[in-house]
């Protein structure tokens, strides 16, 4: 039981770490990577908690959600990267400027 929660808490840690990086960094590529780290944390939580009943086989429903989630994350990352390149082509800058 304990190692399941170790992995789940590790997932929470990844999520918070990604959130920190998302807020602190201004470079768009770092922001995209931070969102990916956050997503990985969520996947880790889901996969870990699927196995929290020791006497039963792992719950297949979270596993299925993670599988679809990974493919969605990849496609969303591709779209984000293209948007980032477009921002750089339009402004010559890898950051979104503050309007102040």
């Amino acid at each position: 039981m304990s190692y399941v929660f170790l992995y789940a808490l590790l997932g929470v840690g990844l999520l918070v770490l990604g959130l920190y990086a998302l807020i602190v960094h201004t470079h768009l590529l770092r922001k995209i990577l931070a969102i990916n780290v956050m997503g990985t944390g969520v996947f880790l939580v889901l996969v870990a908690l699927a196995a929290r009943n020791q006497d039963a086989p792992p719950d297949p429903v979270p596993h299925a959600m993670v599988i679809t989630g990974i493919v969605v994350a990849v496609s969303a990352t591709a779209l984000a990267l293209i948007l980032m390149l477009k921002v750089r082509a339009a402004t010559g800058n890898n950051e979104l400027s503050d309007r102040d």
């Binding site: 929660f5 908690l49 929290r52 009943n53 086989p57 297949p60 496609s75 591709a78 477009k86 503050d98």
Partner: protein, 227 residues
């Protein structure tokens, strides 16, 4: 950084404090989940016989929670449309591959296609299935694109679009077709469920593989009819 010097330091300290609160809250929520649980795995297990697949994950993906997978195929297609509608990458440089990479890609691509086929077939009763096979196929496509291979002009138009939308199309037809005989949406007759799942998975694998490879290319392949 917008804030610098002393304000930047206090900002970061405050952020770390706030995020620690978030982390503790989430950690507590995760640890607290243990007591209250709806046992879905038992529900899946009892209904596995009528699902048409003996691998519980595949049964959940394509039968019990087919909606998720259907919408996920939709998301892939929308992401691709988004990438295409933004136009190509402005400064995309191509490089010629060295002899090692050239030979390696020639050896690896057939291997990857074979592995994808195996993963697709084995998904009915063991870990594997459309998403894994599609990802491997997409990796093969990325390898080909990196080695300078491009889709022929006559395949870049309609044939490519057919492959890209095939997964979603077959899924909707298979899910909606049985509405005509009085079933619910995505309620497969148990006798046909195995074949239907295999059909959907084959179509989904091809679409996922093609979509991921084209997403990597970052723009519409040249030679399309509406260019």
């Amino acid at each position: 950084m917008k804030a610098n010097g002393h304000t930047g330091k206090t900002f970061r300290l405050l952020l770390v404090l706030l995020l620690s609160v978030v982390a503790v809250g989430l950690g507590y929520a995760v640890l607290d989940l243990h007591s209250s649980t709806i046992n879905l795995s038992k529900l899946v297990e009892t209904n596995l016989a009528v699902s048409g697949a003996s691998n519980p994950v595949t049964a959940v993906l394509l039968n019990f929670r087919g909606y998720d997978t259907l919408l996920e195929m939709g998301v892939l297609l929308v992401a691709l449309l988004g990438v295409w509608s933004l136009g190509g990458i402005p400064d995309y440089r191509e490089s010629t591959p060295g002899p090692v990479f050239d030979t390696l890609s020639r050896l690896l691509v057939p291997m990857l296609i074979l592995v994808a086929g195996y993963l697709l077939w084995v998904g009915a009763h063991a870990p594997g299935g459309a998403f894994q096979a599609g990802s491997v196929l997409g990796a093969a496509g990325v390898l080909l694109l990196l080695s300078g291979w491009r889709l022929e002009k006559r395949f870049a138009g309609l044939p490519l679009r057919v492959v890209l939308t095939l997964g979603l199309f077959v899924f909707v037809i298979a899910g909606g077709g049985f509405l005509l005989v009085g079933n619910m949406f995505m309620e497969y007759p148990p006798a046909l469920a195995g074949q239907l799942i295999l059909l959907i998975e084959v179509a989904a694998t091809m679409s996922i593989g093609a979509t991921l490879a084209i997403l990597f290319l970052g723009s519409r392949p040249e030679g399309g009819p509406d260019k």
